[in-house]
């Protein structure tokens, strides 16, 4: 029986599916084993019947609605794709801007992130921006936040 267990899974192999030596060994076993011959005969006798049965079931249904439903879904996909294409065609400028804005934004971000980092000495000068408010108070914008410089107390307006 252990021999039968070994050969059982090979019983319905198609030609060429087993290595030549296995196929030959199977044949020798079949010649000697009535049990496996009977099992194989059953399997072979019913081969293809399952497909026939399922196809017969399929053949019993009306497939006109099926075809229509598939083609309607395909058409919907077409029309959705077509609407996008039409919009792009009729709004070329908007489309171009829509495409370019994120591209520029991305490029700017890359430049910002990968641009030269100022060293401490030069950076402190470059980052400062001086603005004057009525010539009295000066607000110094620094990278640490705004710094308010009070006006000249002795009335010498800096002239």
């Amino acid at each position: 029986m252990s021999e039968c267990s070994h050969y059982a899974p090979m019983l319905t192999a198609r030609p060429g599916e087993l290595p030549a030596e296995d196929a030959a060994a199977l044949q020798r076993h079949l010649d000697a084993c009535v049990h496996c011959r009977a099992l194989r005969a059953t399997f072979l006798a019913t081969e293809g019947l399952l497909a026939e049965g399922l196809l017969a079931k399929a053949a019993g249904r009306d497939f006109a609605p099926f075809t229509d439903a598939v083609m309607a879904r395909v058409a919907r996909r077409h029309s959705a794709r077509g609407r996008v294409f039409d919009w792009v065609t009729h709004h070329r400028v908007r489309t171009a801007i829509s495409a370019l804005v994120p591209a520029f934004a991305a490029a700017a971000l890359v430049v910002y992130l990968h641009g030269p980092t100022p060293d401490a000495g030069q950076g402190s000068q470059n980052l400062f921006e001086l603005t004057s408010d009525c010539g009295v108070t000066t607000v110094l914008k620094t990278d640490q936040g705004p710094v308010v410089l009070m006006g000249d107390d002795d009335g010498d307006d800096g002239t």
Partner: protein, 209 residues
């Protein structure tokens, strides 16, 4: 003259919906049969089959030049069907009842070859047995339904089954054997032989006329 698949695929790819419709009409029943064999439920099989065609249409560009359309379509279908079964299983948490292995030991060999005959000339008998096999298929565990349908309807080889199911070739062979054996046991009543009873070649009388 009927256009071949390749020319219809080319025309469909170029936007000819009529060509794609011809492919749908040509293969819808086969696709449905594959789906039905795996999912069992007719409505689910219907939905899976439609989805298979819609996806095929969406990915026609991905169909490699000479690859057979039907084989490709079957692959899409069986993937969708297997997914549907697994989704259903997860949602129902319904463990598939297996046929006890003990039932496989001994008996039943040759029971179907006897009533059917090795040279089946009787179409009515053949149709009846085919119908009973389809019903029996519904009682098989999921993994056995899958492999039988892929083998018998898609005609996949051991290597192709191993690749499709992600298992070893040896596992394919033993799984197929168990599937066939279980099918045979489920059909034992039809053959007029008790599932556990031994039946040697030629000893079982034809029980159906």
């Amino acid at each position: 003259m009927e256009a071949d698949d390749l020319s219809l695929v080319r025309r469909a790819r170029a936007g000819d919906d009529g060509a794609f419709k011809a492919l749908v009409v040509r293969y819808q029943r086969k696709v449905y049969a594959v789906a039905l064999g795996i999912v069992r439920d007719t409505d689910t099989a219907w939905d899976v089959s439609q989805e298979a065609f819609v996806r095929a249409h969406a990915h026609l560009a991905g169909l490699e030049g000479e690859e057979a359309f039907l084989k490709w379509l079957f692959r899409i279908t069986s993937h969708l069907a297997i997914d549907a079964v697994r989704r259903e299983r997860r949602s129902l948490k319904d463990a598939v009842e297996d046929v006890p292995e003990a039932e496989l030991i001994g008996g039943g060999e040759g029971i179907l070859s006897t009533p059917l005959g090795l040279d089946p000339g009787d179409n009515a008998l053949r149709r009846e047995l085919a119908s009973r096999m389809t019903a029996a298929l519904e009682q098989l565990p999921e993994i056995h339904r899958e492999i039988l349908v892929l083998r018998e309807l898609e005609g996949l080889s051991y290597e192709e089954l191993a690749e499709r199911l992600g298992i070893q070739k040896g596992t394919v062979m033993s799984r197929l054997f168990h599937a066939r054996k279980k099918m045979q046991l489920l059909l034992a009543d039809y053959a007029g032989v008790p599932a556990g009873g031994a039946a040697d070649e030629g000893k079982v009388e034809r029980s159906k006329s």
